[in-house]
Each structure stands twice: as structure tokens, then as C-alpha cells.
């Protein structure tokens, strides 16, 4: 039984990885990360100190800040159409007439998509740290590097989960794209200043704003990243600054590292359940 299960998982992993390579997702995500990194290296290393970080440390911080906005979109694009497209083009009708369980398929696709998104990022961070050390002679901030990787991976998993859940539950591909965009925009817009704007316009209770901020995986990740680097009002914004003072940087990091992953896991479990229980075609 276990041999069959691993065979089924292995076959789908290989099949989907080949599909991802063909669709050039790996090249695209790696290229995008590398392009951003190159831009920040070029600009960042020439400028003066920002947020107390200099050189490669600041480049990493700035890069992560931009990635926090970009990673959700890349993850949603990579996962948001995978199920409904396979359902439409007849892949499922053929594939599930083979000895493959739905749970194996869902797990395999999730693992491949997550790996393809997160591994180039880890490689890029490692490369930047190595460059900073060898070329610019700067000490590597392993703690910051590790924290950045954990937070980015957690955020990626969140949006892999959201994307797969949408892909399972929304059969119409055009509608699915619309929902994916709404999720991304919601995550990106409900950051510090927009939340304060909401509070002022709709006279929302500050507690509501702090809860909204913490619930938004992008904001949770952002606060965790910045608080570990420089927990100042200018860097974090009023909501983040309040929370870091209230909760402390350790708790904020824990929140930023675990909450996005937990939210993504909840969406993933829900999507998996829908996928297993509902009609396949």
C-alpha cells in the first residue's frame, strides 16, 4: 500500500514538475527575483544608510519589502488555475483513470508549486549573502537572512493555499482570475496606511484595525520582517509600531512567520477536502 502511494505521489510530482518547467514558471520566478535583486544591489549599495542597515543588509531588507508585495501575486498566478485548467482540458478525466488518488495528486501539485516558488528565493538570498561577503567584504547577517527566508516561505505557502482553494472551488477560469486578483489586492492594500485610512474614514475602532492588520498575512509578514530589522515608527507605520510595542518583536516575528502559514494551511485543507469530496469533472 505504502509503495503504491509513494509511486502515485512520485509520478504526479514528476509529471507536474515537467509541466511547471514547460510553462517556465521556474524560469519566470527565478528571473523576477534575480532582476529585483540586481536592481537593489545596483541602487542600494551606492546609497547611504537607511534604517540602520548598510550595504548588503539594506539591499536584502529592501528586496524583502518589495517581495512581500510581489510574492503573493506570483504564488496566486502559479496555483490559481492549476486545478480548473486540468479539469477543463481533459487531463483529470485521463489522469484519474490511472492509479492515482486525489489526495496524492493535490499534495504533489502543492509541493511542486511551493518548491518552485521558494527554492529560487532561498538560492537568491544565499547568493546575495555570499556576494556581500566575498565581493564587498561584509559580514553576513545570518539571523536576518534566516528570518527573511522563513517569513517569505510562510507568505508563499499562504498564497499557494489560497490559490489552490480558488482553483478547486471556482470552475470558471475567468472568474477564478478575478477572485485571485481580489485576494491579492486585499492583501496588498490592507497595509498600515490603508488601515489607518479606513479607521479615519469609517471611524473604525483601533482594536478592529489592529486585528485586521494581524489577520492580513501580508501585513503580518511585513511587520515581522521590519520589526526584526528596525522597529521604528517611520519604518513600521502606526499600526505596526503599536503592535511591536504591545507585543514585542519576538511575538511579532512569531506571528509573521506562523500566521500566513496557518492561514494558507487552513485554505489548503479546505481546498483539498473540496477536491476529494466533489465531482472531479
Amino acid at each position: 500500500m505504502s509503495i503504491r502511494l509513494s509511486k502515485s505521489l512520485q509520478a504526479v510530482v514528476q509529471f507536474d514538475f515537467a509541466e511547471v518547467m514547460r510553462s517556465r514558471w521556474l524560469v519566470f520566478s527565478s528571473g523576477l527575483y534575480a532582476l529585483l535583486a540586481a536592481l537593489f544591489v545596483l541602487v542600494g549599495l551606492r546609497q547611504s544608510t537607511v534604517l540602520g542597515f548598510t550595504g548588503m543588509g539594506r539591499v536584502l531588507l529592501s528586496l524583502c519589502h518589495v517581495l512581500l508585495l510581489l510574492l503573493p501575486l506570483v504564488a496566486l498566478a502559479a496555483c490559481g488555475q492549476v486545478i480548473n485548467r486540468a479539469r477543463d482540458d481533459g487531463t483529470f478525466e485521463f489522469l484519474f483513470s490511472q492509479p492515482i488518488t486525489r489526495s496524492d495528486y493535490f499534495l504533489a501539485v502543492s509541493l511542486v508549486r511551493f518548491a518552485v516558488l521558494v527554492l529560487p528565493l532561498v538560492a537568491l538570498f544565499a547568493l546575495l549573502a555570499f556576494l556581500g561577503w566575498t565581493i564587498f567584504g561584509q559580514e553576513i547577517s545570518w539571523v536576518f537572512l534566516g528570518r527573511s527566508v522563513v517569513i517569505c516561505a510562510s507568505l508563499l505557502w499562504a498564497f499557494v493555499g489560497f490559490g489552490l482553494a480558488i482553483s478547486v472551488s471556482v470552475r470558471n477560469q475567468a472568474k477564478a482570475i478575478m477572485y485571485l486578483l481580489v485576494i491579492w489586492v486585499t492583501g496588498v492594500v490592507l497595509l498600515d496606511f490603508a488601515l489607518i485610512g479606513l479607521m479615519l474614514v469609517w471611524r473604525l475602532n483601533p482594536q478592529t484595525i489592529f486585528i485586521l492588520a494581524s489577520l492580513n498575512p501580508v501585513e503580518a509578514a511585513r511587520m515581522a520582517l521590519l520589526s526584526s530589522a528596525d522597529p521604528t515608527l517611520a519604518a513600521l507605520g502606526p499600526v505596526g509600531f503599536y503592535l511591536v510595542n504591545r507585543l514585542g518583536t519576538g511575538v511579532l516575528f512569531a506571528l509573521g512567520a506562523t500566521w500566513p502559514a496557518a492561514a494558507g494551511s487552513i485554505a489548503w485543507i479546505w481546498g483539498r477536502r473540496q477536491f476529494i469530496q466533489n465531482d472531479l469533472v
Binding site: 500500500m1 503504491r4 502511494l5 509511486k7 502515485s8 512520485q10 509520478a11 514528476q14 509529471f15 515537467a18 509541466e19 514547460r22 510553462s23 482540458d89 481533459g90 487531463t91 483529470f92 478525466e93 485521463f94 489522469l95 484519474f96 483513470s97 490511472q98 492509479p99 492515482i100 488518488t101 469530496q277 466533489n278 465531482d279 472531479l280 469533472v281
Partner: protein, 254 residues
């Protein structure tokens, strides 16, 4: 493999695709599902393969498919009417299926060549770029090479030319001696060549079932009261010709 359906009903929203269908296909029997478009044939085979959730029971060898899905799926092979539009290459597809079913890729190649398909020529080409006939042959080769106990065929020769169709019928004779076969077809020739029993579906219900020879003689159509059958049989005393004419009312191609 014995296939049994007990009071199977399937709804898609307000549309009732299958209504209380009960059917037993004993092990080794060859059954054709015949009926017009939308009569529930595809839904029925998807229900058997566990792709759609239904009310009622589907039993394979007396057990629910979810009892041991991998073991059962390993004994089932399926040739879809519309082969998947995969960007994967032929080699990837053959490799994946071989890995899943524990087959030798050479076994697939042997079957394919008996259908006049040289897999080497299309080995690195994406499946979606193959012609309809080539895709169909590939699907048949993968299904037959799996040596299934239950073979489900949905319009298997629709895209094949005459010579390939004849080769397919020969291959079918050779490889399906003890295999249970469920065939969905609109083609008279396929029913004649591949089935011993016919089940006619209409509006999600079994409208008639019996021997393939009776169906081909037009008895099913008479029994169902298909318009014009009685007249045509009076005019044309030979059964097959009469049924051929009236069979078109069931969406069959003669």
C-alpha cells in the same frame, strides 16, 4: 471484474443526469451503452470510475471503489472520447502511466505499433499537437498495455481511419478475452464488433437492455417505440437494415 450499479442517481444542479439506474455487468461481459447525446452515458462511466459523486451504490467486484481505490484503479483502463490536451510529451505520458501501473514502456510501444503507430516518431512531441487519430491510438495502446480487468471505452474508434479501425477490432479480440468491457458508442459498427449486450439510455434512465444481436435487429427500437421503426421494418424486412435506419433516432452512426 463485475460492475454493479444500485439505484444510481446523479444530479447536476437541477438537471437529473442519471435516474435510479440499476445495472449488473458480470465479469468478462462486453456491454455497449447506447443513447442520444445527454442521455447519461458519460456520466454513468464517470460514476463507475468514481469521478463523480452519486446517490446509490457503485460496486466493483462487490466493493465500493473507495474501499481500495488504488488497487481497483490499477485494474481499470479507460479510453476517453476526447484525449487530454496535454502539453506533456508522448514520452512523459508513457513514462508516467508506466510508472503508475508498473508497465514496461516497450509493452506500450508493441501495442502502439500493432495499431500502426510508431511511438518513436512522436516520442518528443507534445500530446496536444498529435492528430486526433494518433492521440486515440496512444490512448488505446496505454489502456490495452495495462492489461485491465475492466476496460472502459468512450467512442474509441471515432478518430480512426478505416484501416486503423480494423486493426483496433483485431487487437480488441486478441486482448480482451476475459476482460469486462463497457463501451459508450454511437457507432453501429463498434457495437457490432465489440459488444455482446446493449444497454440503451434515454434521459438518464435505462430504456432497454438485451443482446447486441437483438439490438442490431432493431428489436430495441421497436420495443422503445422509436418513431418509424415499425414502418421501416415493414418496408425493409431485413432486421439490421431497418434498425440501421431507425438507430439514427438514438443518435447512432451507421
Amino acid at each position: 471484474m463485475q460492475v454493479e450499479l444500485r439505484k444510481v442517481t446523479k444530479r447536476f444542479g437541477s438537471v437529473l443526469a442519471l435516474r435510479n439506474v440499476s445495472l449488473v455487468v458480470p465479469s468478462g461481459q462486453k456491454v455497449a451503452l447506447v443513447g442520444p447525446n445527454g442521455s447519461g452515458k458519460s456520466t454513468l462511466i464517470r460514476a463507475i470510475m468514481g469521478m463523480v459523486a452519486v446517490e446509490g451504490e457503485v460496486l466493483l467486484n462487490g466493493r465500493a471503489p473507495f474501499h481500495d481505490p488504488l488497487r481497483l484503479a490499477n485494474q481499470i483502463a479507460y479510453v476517453p472520447q476526447n484525449p487530454p490536451s496535454l502539453s506533456a510529451s508522448t514520452s512523459e505520458l508513457v513514462h508516467t502511466v508506466s510508472l503508475l501501473r508498473g508497465l514496461k514502456e516497450s509493452a506500450v510501444q508493441v501495442i502502439a505499433s500493432s495499431l500502426n503507430l510508431n511511438l518513436g516518431e512522436v516520442w518528443n512531441r507534445p500530446v496536444r499537437e498529435l492528430s486526433g487519430g494518433t492521440k486515440e491510438k496512444l490512448m488505446v495502446a496505454l489502456a490495452v498495455a495495462a492489461k485491465p480487468s475492466l476496460l472502459i471505452l468512450d467512442e474509441p474508434t471515432a478518430s480512426l481511419d478505416t484501416a486503423s479501425r480494423l486493426r483496433f477490432f483485431e487487437l480488441f479480440e486478441q486482448f480482451t478475452v476475459d476482460v469486462t468491457v463497457i463501451l459508450c458508442s454511437h457507432r453501429f459498427e463498434e457495437v457490432r464488433q465489440l459488444a455482446r449486450r446493449v444497454v440503451v439510455l434515454e434521459a438518464g434512465q435505462i430504456a432497454w437492455e438485451g443482446e447486441a444481436s437483438d439490438f442490431l435487429d432493431g428489436q430495441a427500437l421497436v420495443a422503445m417505440g422509436v418513431q418509424g421503426v415499425e414502418d421501416s421494418q415493414e418496408r425493409l424486412p431485413t432486421g439490421p437494415t431497418a434498425s440501421a435506419t431507425a438507430c439514427k433516432d438514438l443518435g447512432c452512426e451507421v
